[in-house]
Symmetry: C2
Subunit: 449 residues, 2 copies
C-alpha cells in the first residue's frame, strides 16, 4: 500500500477548520496543528470579555469536531519553523520538538494585533484576539472597578472607570456597546457606595472621520447615532499616539485618563508568515496565486488573514467568510492536484457585513446592496450568530444566557478567574504572617457609612 | 449620630456568606473580604475539573449577592495580618495595604490541602480546593492526553493516562467517578489512533481500609461496589508516601506510573489562623467557645473549617453545613451582644451526608438514620445540589449541562484555557523564527496511518 498524501494544516481557526472539514474522509491523512486544543468562535470574543458568555460557550475542542473522522488528527502545539525544502513543519508540542512531514501544507494561522509601531500602546493595551486575551480583559475590567470602589483618590477612580476602545470597525463597536451596557447596568450599581458613587465612561476612539470604513455613508452615520444614543462617547479623526499607566494621549494632544485601553484598531498577519522566507505583502501577508498556492513553494497554500490575494477591487479583507471560503478552496485544490486536475482560482462570494452595537442596535449591509439598521439588523445578527455557532450544547447555553441577559440586564460571568501555572499544583497559600506594626505603616483607616 | 458597629468578615465561603446574609439590613456595617470576587459552590468543583461545568456556573459574584444590601460591602483582597489590639484587619487590595477597623470580626477563611508532611506530594499533587485549582486540574488532564496521543514511548503514554485520586472521602469518590466517565466515554475515543490506542486508568488510593470513614459499614461497602462497578480501581489500606515526576510510591512499596496525582486526602485550617496569635487545636484550627468567640479576644469569632469546637461526639467535622450554621450563629451572637443579650452556644443540626460516585451511583445517610444507595441516592443528590446552587441563571445552565451530559456522555468544557497575567496585555506572539537546522536536531519523524 503506497502511503497516502499527508496534508498539514497550521491553525484551527475558520480557514484551517474548513480546510480540514473539506478533507475529512478523503483519501488523504490530515494533521491540523493549533496552539489551543479548541476552535474559537471569534465573533463573540467581545461577549466573553464583557462577562456575557463563558469561554467554553464559544470554544469547541478540535478533537470533538473530528471525533468521527479518523483521517484528521489534531495536534496541539506551537509551530516554530517550516522547512520548505525538507517539507517538514517543526512543532513544539507537549514539551518536545517534533518534525511533521507534509506533502501539502495549508497555512492558516490568522492574524495578531497591529499597533502601527506605537510601542507604549503595544505594551499597555489589551487585545481581543483570542480566548485568553478575552478572559484577561474581563479580569482587568472587574479589577478596575474593585479598585475604584475602595480608592480615596478621585483621579484614580476616574482612570479606573474610564474604558477606552480603539478602532471603529465591527469589533470596536461591538465591544464598546457591550461594555457600556455592562458598566451602566451592572457595575455602576454594584460598585457604587453612598459616599462614593461610581460613574463610568466608555469612549470609542477612531483615527478616521467615520466608523465602519467599508460601509456606505448612511449606515456609518446610523452606527454612530445608535452608539451615541446608547451613551458611548465617540471620538473621530483623532488617533491614539501614546499610552501611559493612567492615561492615554491622542494626536490632537487630548489626554484621556484611563487604565483600560482596548485595542481593536488593526491586525496584521501572524508572524508565522516570515518563516516561509518569501517577500511579504502589506500587512505582513503572504502573496499567493489565485489558486492560493505560494509561488515558488509547490504544495504550500496560505489562506485567510495570512494570505494576500487581490481581485479587481483590491486585496480581500481579513474577515471570516474569506478565510472559510479560502480554506475550502485550498483543500479542494489539493485534492484536484492529487487527482491530476487543474486547480481553481479563488472567487469570493460576498454576502455582505453586519455589526451589532449593543441591545437592539445593529447595522447590516447584506450582499453589499441591502441596508438594515436598528432592531431588524440586530435580530438578524442574533439569529445568524446562533445558527453559526457550532455544537448544539453551545447554542443552547448561549441562547439561555442571551435571553437571560436581555430581560434582566444581568451578566452572569462577572468572576475574576486567574489561573495557576498549567499542569502544576498551585502553591499553598503563603502563611500571611506580617508584623502588624510594619504592615500598617502608610495605610489609610477606613470606616464605611 | 453615633457610628454603627462595624463587622468585618474574612472569607466569602459558606461560613462568611451566611454570616453576612444574617447581618444584611441590620443596624451594622459589614465588610466581607475575600481573595476572590466570587463565592464558590465548592461541592461541584470536581465537575469543573472534569470538564462538565464552566467555572462561572459554580461561582457567584459576591457583589451580586449583596447588590441590594447597602450595609454589606465586599472587598476583594488578601488578609495579611490581624491587629487584635488595635482591632484592625490588614488587607492587600488593588495593590495597596489597607487597615480596616472592626468592632466585631468573623474569621471564616476555610481550609487548605493538608499533605501530612509529605514534601514531594505537596509539591507534585494537584488540589481541588478552589476554582483556579479546578481549572488547572482540567488543563493538566487534557494536556496529558494530548501528550499521550503523540508520544512514541509506551511508558510515557501509560504515565500520562493513569490518573490517581488520593482520598476516600466524598470529594475523592466524586472526582474518581467523574474522571472515569470523562476518560472512558470521551478522552479514550478522541485521543486514540488506530496504531496507538489509548487505555486510561483511574485509581483511587485510600490510606484506611474502607471508604467514607463516617458512614456505616454497609454504605461504605455500597460505595466501594458502585465505584468498582464503574471501572475505578480502588486501593485500600495503602497510603501514598512519595510522588515523582512520572510515578508515585505507596507505603507497601507499590509504584504506580502516573503524572496526575489529585489530592483530596486531607485538609487543615487556613494558615490565617496563626495570625490571631492563640494556641491552635489539631488541624491548625482555632479553639473557640461554644458561642464561637475566641477566648481572650473579645469580639473575635471564628466559624467553619477554621473553628475548633466540640460536642459530646468530638470536634465538629469540616463540612459545609457546620460552616453555614456557625456563620449564622456568629452573626446572631454579635447582634445579641450589641443588644446586650446573652449569646447562644452552637448546636449542630445534622441532616446527614451524601456522596455521588458518578452516573446513577451515590450513597446517602440522611439524618444519620436513613441509608440510601444507587439511583435513588443519586437523584436525591442531583435535586438537592441543583436547589442549593445560588442564582436562577446558574441553576438553569447547570441543568442544561447536566441533562445534556447525561444523555450524550458529552463533556462540553474540554478546553485547555490558560490565562495571561492579570491586568496586562498578553505579550505579542513571539516571532517564531528558529533556524530550521537547529530546530530539527533530535526530533522524530512522524507520519500517520
Amino acid at each position: 500500500m503506497t502511503p497516502r498524501p499527508q496534508i498539514v494544516i497550521v491553525g484551527a481557526g475558520f480557514g484551517g477548520l474548513f480546510a480540514a472539514r473539506t478533507l475529512a474522509n478523503q483519501a488523504v491523512d490530515v494533521i491540523i496543528i493549533d496552539r489551543h486544543n479548541y476552535h474559537t468562535f471569534t465573533p463573540l470574543l467581545y461577549q466573553v470579555a464583557t462577562a456575557g458568555l463563558d469561554p467554553s460557550e464559544i470554544a469547541y475542542p478540535v478533537r470533538a469536531i473530528f471525533r468521527h473522522t479518523p483521517n484528521v488528527q489534531p495536534l496541539m502545539g506551537e509551530v516554530e519553523a517550516i522547512d520548505t525544502i525538507g517539507r517538514r513543519v517543526i512543532v513544539q508540542a507537549s514539551g518536545e520538538t517534533r518534525a511533521i512531514p507534509y506533502d501539502y501544507l495549508i497555512l492558516a494561522a490568522g492574524s495578531v494585533s497591529h499597533h502601527f509601531g506605537l510601542a507604549t500602546v503595544a505594551e499597555r493595551s489589551l487585545g481581543l484576539k483570542d480566548l485568553p486575551e478575552a478572559v484577561a480583559l474581563r479580569n482587568h475590567i472587574l479589577r478596575q472597578f474593585e479598585r475604584a470602589a475602595w480608592s480615596d483618590d478621585p483621579a484614580s477612580r476616574t482612570a479606573a472607570t474610564t474604558l477606552v476602545v480603539v478602532g471603529g470597525g465591527p469589533t470596536g463597536l461591538e465591544t464598546a456597546g457591550a461594555l457600556h451596557e455592562l458598566v451602566s447596568r451592572i457595575l455602576e450599581q454594584e460598585y457604587s457606595r453612598l459616599e462614593r458613587p461610581i460613574t463610568a465612561r466608555v469612549i470609542l476612539v477612531e483615527a478616521a472621520d467615520h466608523l465602519l470604513a467599508p460601509y456606505p455613508a448612511p449606515l456609518q452615520q446610523a452606527a454612530l447615532d445608535q452608539l451615541r444614543s446608547l451613551g458611548v462617547e465617540v471620538v473621530l479623526g483623532d488617533p491614539v499616539v501614546e499610552a501611559g499607566a493612567d492615561a492615554i494621549r491622542l494626536k490632537s494632544g487630548r489626554v484621556i485618563p484611563t487604565r483600560t485601553l482596548i485595542w481593536s484598531a488593526g491586525v496584521k498577519a501572524s508572524p508565522l508568515a516570515v518563516v516561509l522566507g518569501v517577500p511579504l505583502a502589506p500587512g505582513g501577508r503572504v502573496p499567493v496565486r489565485p489558486t492560493l498556492e505560494v509561488p515558488g513553494l509547490p504544495g504550500v497554500y496560505v489562506v485567510g488573514d495570512m494570505a494576500y490575494v487581490e481581485d479587481e477591487r483590491g486585496p480581500y479583507p481579513m474577515v471570516i467568510p474569506v478565510a472559510k471560503q479560502q480554506g475550502i478552496l485550498a483543500a479542494r485544490n489539493i485534492l484536484r492536484r492529487i487527482r491530476g486536475e487543474q486547480p481553481q482560482p479563488f472567487r469570493y462570494r460576498d454576502r455582505g457585513m453586519m455589526a451589532t452595537l449593543g441591545r437592539s442596535r445593529a447595522v447590516a449591509w447584506l450582499y453589499n446592496r441591502i441596508p438594515l439598521r436598528g432592531y431588524v439588523a440586530w435580530v438578524a445578527w442574533l439569529v445568524l450568530h446562533l445558527l453559526w455557532l457550532m455544537g448544539f450544547r453551545n447554542r443552547l447555553n448561549v441562547l439561555v444566557n442571551w435571553v437571560w441577559n436581555y430581560f434582566t440586564y444581568d451578566r452572569a460571568v462577572r468572576i475574576i478567574l486567574e489561573h495557576n501555572r498549567a499542569g502544576r499544583a498551585s502553591p499553598s497559600r503563603r502563611t500571611p504572617i506580617v508584623p502588624v506594626e510594619q504592615a500598617v505603616e502608610e495605610t489609610e483607616i477606613q470606616r464605611i457609612a
